[in-house]
Symmetry: none
Subunit: 121 residues, 4 copies
């Protein structure tokens, strides 16, 4: 559980959990088949409510990144490297479409975006 939660960022906690864990899974930092900590333990560790953790876990399951076995726990889904790449690109592209729409609304060209992006990175 290497998670950083911000209570002031405006984005819901459960979404922060979802984003960080899914990023970790898709980067391969969490091995497939391994189990996530029990929701109650995670809730205590992260100092949030059980329900908040559960909501994040549910979204992860819906995204096909983990699977739940009642009475046993939650496990990282066993994905092929191809599937991982696919899901990773899906998530990134989904966000990128929004970002580019924003940039475009200011009349920026791709080149200008590149220029700025290089500096920020």
């Amino acid at each position: 559980m290497n998670i950083a939660i911000s209570n002031t960022s405006g984005t819901p906690i459960y979404q922060q959990l979802f984003e960080q864990i899914s990023a970790q899974i898709l980067k391969g930092e969490l091995e497939t088949g391994y189990s996530l900590p029990p929701i109650r333990q995670a809730a205590t560790e992260l100092r949030v409510s059980i329900i908040t953790v559960k909501k994040a876990w549910e979204e992860l399951e819906r995204a096909g990144l983990i699977y739940t076995v009642t009475g046993k726990g939650c496990f990282i889904a066993e994905l092929t490297p191809d599937e991982i790449l696919q899901k990773r690109n899906d998530m990134i592209l989904k966000q990128m479409v929004l970002d580019t729409a924003y940039y475009k609304s200011f009349g920026l060209t791709v080149e200008e975006v590149f220029e700025l992006l290089k500096k920020v990175y």
Copy 2:
């Protein structure tokens, strides 16, 4: 009032107004010194609540893009080209910092971001 509002997108309406109008101002599509339509009229035209329009106008004023003359209406701020450029870059960079943080969380390099961004654009 060349504005497109989505009720289902998730982003608050007042923010959609703010983003689109500020983009138009910073692109120079709205001449400095010109007046925005009265709040009531804008609300009717856009089919949103007066409160919503007011909130958007307030944010625009706070961002220094418009100014209010009590009893007369709201006017586009008279900015020098330099100031416009400054504000425009501020808004873009602020967003870009968030975007790059997101991309980095997936372990993407600048080059990979470029690659994807080119496709999306």
Copy 3:
């Protein structure tokens, strides 16, 4: 809100709500574009928790049957008759696959199932 809730049936309440409302929508009993009652009112009426109602509403939205506008309410999705038929058949077939698997496990043929089904109907 023509809903019957059973506390003893074993199926979660939120799922009962989901099933009954989605059935009503797909049968055309709830006109498209009309609003569902506010979750708080529905909760009071049905004598369940707000959260339970919310969970059902969320599933309905995920199924594309309703859409939520924050601050305004939840509305029946505007679907073409074709889309409605499509979604209806999807839901029915999904269940039917399970049913037939059960019948098959007892070695029943289609004809035998027909025979029994006619009696039960």
Copy 4:
């Protein structure tokens, strides 16, 4: 022990055991008077908890399909062909009543159900 268990299907494991074994008994695949494997052995073979197997066996006994002889094991109940038919029909009809209720809730007629069922089968 020709049993297939799914950890992710949502139906409890003990119920999967119950359904598959009872189906086998009622189809005559398990001879009357024969013994079921000891609980421990079944648990090891199927890779489930002893408690889970025990619960399934208990349900089978409650359904009158097996009987336990303390210290000796569990045996398939000695049923007349008539009794087998009776129990089989009971189980099937019990499920079918639920299924038809579901179909009816969508406003399907028997004929439409036949049509769909034929495809699925």
